[in-house]
Every structure is written in structure tokens, then in C-alpha cells.
Symmetry: C2
Subunit: 369 residues, 2 copies
């Protein structure tokens, strides 16, 4: 029997995620498995919760990694916070806002959407106008829209709803660990992320956090959470308290990886990590501009960790990405939805945000274009 794992090459991951993984995280993944109720493991869970609070700038007690990928984080937030016929406002300027609409609709919520052009940020005045027209139980928006490279004004939107009863749900899948996320200061009530972006851990876990207001909504639900696996009212009994109640078997080794990944960021220092992302972003943009390549997003709304560049005229999208992967072992991302074939997405997430990686990519692009 041929073992296909042997043929997997070392690839420089410069797409929209997964990102490059530090060797210490691979080692962590390979640490011997112990039981999900082992005191050593429970200690590790407590450490992970603490690290996540630091990364999110929150004091929320309900701050845990959910046992699924980033999209499970989205599902978790909506399914725990929404009840049938709740009024929801979703701000959409890319794939992940669109996904939110689908998730919330399936749960029986009354969903209104405000749509903004892909590649541009959410316009705060439009949101304010809508909030003045109607009361919402929940407003949801993506911080770093991975499909376009746009940063949305999370702080400003938070200011609009801080005195309302509306819960504020923010997707921080791509932003967490690569730029400031100030959950408490920005009045965010529910936040989810993923491990495979700026945390530089393989995909598989979704850190989530709920404010006291969000926990109150959860505790006062009329109906049980219609999703046993993601029911936070039960999962928190395993993740906190003196006697840990078994819910489902935690993904032990993935949690080792997340522990190490958070450890690495906190060890390097969050400010230093954010600065590195910003410096690498500036370097990449300047190199691309010198090649005459245009960037999709206006300067003031660009994300450091996800850069959308407009594919030059006459260049074959699929061919270049294939050749980058096959001849140079570099992965970059294509466009999604209306941007398919129009942009490339270059990730500078976590361990990927290093000068040598940018030089390697730019060299390859210069040869190929």
C-alpha cells in the first residue's frame, strides 16, 4: 500500500488560509493524547481560555474554542443567540456576510440585509439609518472580509448600538491575531474566529466569546438551542466550573495546537505581531505597485493580512495559480463570487507574514507574469 502522506510537499501558504504553521505547533499537535477529563487537560483548557481572552481583549467568562472550523463558530453564535422570528440585520460586503444571511435564515430569523459593494467597506451612515427605522435583536458583520480584503468599521458600528438592546455579533475569523480586536471596548457581544488564519494553527477549531448580555439572552431562551452539538449552555459546563460535565469528547490534539499557537503570539507580543503584519503588508503592496499591479481595495480600508490584487489584463488566472503551486510550491487564492477570475488574494497571516515569503512570491510572480 502506498502512503499518500509521504508525497505531500512543503508548500508556502500565501492564500486566504490555511496559513503557514510554526514547527512548535506541529510538535504540539503530535503531543501524546490524554483524556478529555484528565486534570492536566483541564488545566490546559483553562490556559487556552485565558490566552483567547488576551487575544480578544475581553473579560468575558464565556470564551472558549468550539470543536469545529471557523464556520462552526458562525453557526454557534447564530444558533445560540437567535430564536425563531428574531429580527436580524446583516451587513454584507462579501462572501462571509452572505453566508451569515444563509445561516440566520435557516434558523427561522427575520433577516434584513444591507448590501455594500464588494471591495468597499460597510458605510456606517447607512447602518445608522436602518437602525433608526427598526429594532433588531441582533446585528452581524464581518470584521476582516476574507473574500475581498476589506476591513469593516467595527468600532464605529459598535458605537451605534451600544445603547440599544441589539446584540452585536462580529466575525473575526481573519482578523484575530493579526490586528487589533477589542471585543469589550468595541461593545461586541458575540465574536467567533478560526485557527487557520492569523493564529497560524491548522484549521479545526473556532474560538468564540459571548458578553454578559449575550449569555443572558442564551440563558433566557424560550426554546432549547436547536443544535445539540453547538449548545453553549451545555458546552460551558465542560469548559468551566468545578466539576466538568462531559458533553462531547474535545478535539484534544487540535487544542494542543491552539494552545501552542496562542502561546507563540503572546510570547512574541501582540503589538509586535500586529506591527509585523502591517510592515509585511506595506512591503508586499509596495513590491506589487512597483510591478504595476493594482490593489482592489482603497488604502484606508485595506486589511494587512489579506491583500486582493487585480489580475493584470490578459493574464490567465488559473494557469498562473497552478504554476505558482506546481513550479514554486506557493499557494495564493483566487477570487470568489463576482470577483472570480478578477482578483488574486494574497494572505499574510501569522507565520506567513515574513519578509522571506514575500520575496519568494514576488520573485516567482516576476518570472511568471
Amino acid at each position: 500500500m502506498k502512503n499518500q502522506l509521504k508525497s505531500i510537499q512543503d508548500t508556502l501558504l500565501m492564500g486566504p488560509g490555511p496559513s503557514c504553521v510554526h514547527p512548535s505547533v506541529y510538535n504540539a499537535l503530535a503531543t501524546n493524547t490524554i483524556g478529555h477529563l484528565d486534570p492536566y487537560f483541564i488545566n490546559l483548557m483553562d490556559q487556552i481560555k485565558g490566552y483567547l481572552k488576551i487575544l480578544m481583549n475581553t473579560r468575558n467568562r464565556l470564551t472558549i474554542p468550539v470543536s469545529g472550523t471557523g464556520s462552526a463558530g458562525m453557526e454557534t453564535c447564530f444558533v445560540n443567540l437567535l430564536e425563531k422570528n428574531d429580527n436580524v440585520l446583516i451587513l454584507i460586503n462579501g462572501v462571509f456576510g452572505t453566508r451569515m444571511e444563509d445561516v440566520a435564515s435557516r434558523l427561522g430569523a427575520n433577516v434584513d440585509v444591507l448590501k455594500f459593494e464588494w471591495g468597499t467597506p460597510v458605510i456606517v451612515d447607512a447602518v445608522e439609518g436602518q437602525l433608526n427605522k427598526k429594532n433588531y435583536d441582533l446585528l452581524a458583520v464581518v470584521h476582516a472580509e476574507t473574500s475581498t480584503g476589506v476591513c469593516n468599521p467595527i468600532n464605529e458600528i459598535g458605537e451605534l448600538i451600544r445603547k440599544k438592546k441589539t446584540l452585536y455579533l462580529v466575525d473575526c475569523v481573519t482578523s484575530l491575531g493579526g490586528m487589533e480586536v477589542k471585543m469589550d471596548k468595541w461593545h461586541i457581544d458575540a465574536l467567533y474566529s478560526g485557527t487557520q488564519k492569523c493564529l497560524s494553527c491548522p484549521p479545526g477549531l473556532a474560538p468564540v466569546s459571548f458578553s454578559d448580555r449575550a449569555v443572558e439572552k442564551l440563558n433566557n431562551r424560550k426554546a432549547k438551542v436547536p443544535n445539540w452539538y453547538l449548545d453553549l449552555s451545555m458546552i460551558t459546563q465542560y469548559w468551566s466550573g468545578k466539576s466538568r460535565v462531559y458533553h462531547h469528547t474535545a478535539p484534544i490534539n487540535m487544542l494542543y495546537g491552539l494552545y501552542q499557537a496562542c502561546y507563540n503570539i503572546i510570547q512574541e507580543g501582540m503589538e509586535a505581531v500586529f506591527k509585523r503584519h502591517m510592515n509585511m503588508h506595506n512591503l508586499l503592496i509596495s513590491e506589487l505597485e512597483q510591478m504595476g499591479i493594482q490593489i482592489l481595495v482603497e488604502t484606508q480600508s485595506r486589511l494587512p493580512m489579506l491583500n486582493s490584487l487585480i489580475i493584470p489584463d490578459g493574464v490567465d488566472d488559473g494557469e498562473i495559480r497552478s504554476r505558482l503551486l506546481n513550479e514554486y510550491q506557493i499557494e495564493i487564492g483566487g477570487g470568489l463570487g463576482p470577483l472570480t477570475g478578477k482578483i488574486w488574494r494574497i494572505g499574510l497571516m501569522g507565520e506567513t507574514a515574513r519578509e522571506e515569503n514575500i520575496i519568494r512570491l514576488i520573485d516567482a510572480l516576476k518570472k511568471l507574469l
Copy 2:
């Protein structure tokens, strides 16, 4: 900063899961991450699907690992197959049957249950009687009830409903990879498992398989699956077909681990693996009986991979399990629900089912009791 991972000891996992992991699987987990649309990864996905079909004895095209732990497999089967007000019959003789009732009820199904004493198997005549009284859209039962160590008569129940319209859903979390699971021959329509039992891979993935009848039900749903993350009609577009459509970022490294774990079983030979489980079960039981320890389950209904022994009179449950873990680095499981404090559960799952492990446990128990 102290790194807590360094203090994690090598523990002999003889509880109800997670089980011991072979070094090759740890190595697989630490293989460098590649993209979820990388051709090498798509090839690996195809291999995994093929391996799972072999392990399940099925030709079902929809056979994939779901991105969550075993309980996510349960959630996946119910949420994809049930619609509001569907009639469901659940056979309960332990924790996991009870969990099925909760999962199905949250989805708005009309749930009937037949309850059997914990520690005894489902009685086929009782099921037949109930099926003659009422038509059900779905019947669900656990193959290997991990909370008690009982094997339920899956084949016989399958015979009862093969000519009915009722879909047959079976939990094979603990059985798959440790004893025969003949999905097609036993007329099973939907099956789920977990990686951390007899597959001897860390927890984190849930292999599932749907028969053509189950897929037909999925394709003819009146309402969308009320769970975006686990919607198999979308997930299968990523796992099969020519152009793989991104749904969520697959848990790449966990899938490496599952690939290697399946590879190991198929390499050793399924018959040989099952025989090893049965031999080790017989060895354990004979050693325990020599010590005068009684087994909860009657001989003909015992599982090879999960052995429930009655805690001898006057023995402190928690103390002995703590000392086993702290002094001997051996984990065994306690009882759940009505069996709390009354039984210990000794797992012989996958890599755990080796003679040296049984000798080590029996030696320790002899010293402690």
C-alpha cells in the same frame, strides 16, 4: 512563560475513548499543512473516502468524515434526515440513545422511544411490536453503547425495517474499526462514527455514510437543512465531483491523522484487527474474573472494546481511578447516569487492545484493590 504542554505525561488510555494513538498517526498530524483545494489534498480526500467505505462495508457514494467530533456525526445524521414533525423511533439503553432523543427533539421531530435496561441489549420483539403499531420516518439505535458495554442487535433490527419506508440510522462511534460493521448488508441508511475509539486517531472527526435512500430523503427535503455547517447537500460538493466547491476549510491535519489511522487498520487487515480486539477482550475478562470481579453485561451481549466491570463492594470509585491515573498513568472510565459509582469502563479500542496494556492494568488493579 511556562509551556504547559511540556508537562503532559504519556498516559495509557484504557477508558471509553480517546484510545491510544500509534506513533505513525502522531507523525501524520504533524505533516505540513497544505491548502484545502490543493490537488494533493483532494487526492487524499478521495483516499479517505475509499478507506471509510472499506471499514464500513458500504458502496455508498456519500461517505465522508464530518468536521467535528463523534457527536457532530450524530447531529449531522439527524439534522440532514429529519424534517419538522417527522416520526422518529429511538431505541434507548444508555447515554448515547438518550442523547439521540435530545438531538431529534430539538429538531422538531415527533419522537417516540423504547427504553431498555442499561446494561442489557435492545429487545428485537419489542421493536417489531412498535413498528407494527405505527409508521416511522426514521429509526435510530446505537450499535456499541459506550456507556454500558452492550452490543445491540443491529442486523436483526435492520431485517425488521428493510421492506418499510423507515430510514435506519445507526451510531457506530465505538464499533467502527473494532468489530464488524456491515452497513449495506445490515440495511443501514445512515451511520456515523468518531475517530477517537477503535480508529485510534485523536478526537476531532466524525465519519458518516448515507445510503441512496438517505440521499434521496436529503435531496427531497421541503426545507433547507437548518444547520449550514453540517448541511451535507453542500458539503458533498466539496468532497466529490469534478470541481470541488469550497464550503468550509477542512481540518487538514486531522484528516492526515484519519488517513493514517485507516491506513494502519487496512494494512493490518480488518479480520486480524477484529480478532485482536476479541482476543484481548477475552484475556481481560478472564483476568478480571480470576480476581473475582463481576462484569455488568451478559456474555452474549458484551462488546470486545468496552468492558464494564462492577466496582467491588467497599471500593472507592474516584480514589482508585485517581490513583490509577496519578501513580500508574493509566486512565479508565467511570460509570455514567444510573451507573455512576457502580461500574468502571475499560476500553480496549484500537491500539489500546494489546496484551502488554492489559497486563499493566491488571498488575496495577491487583496492587490497588
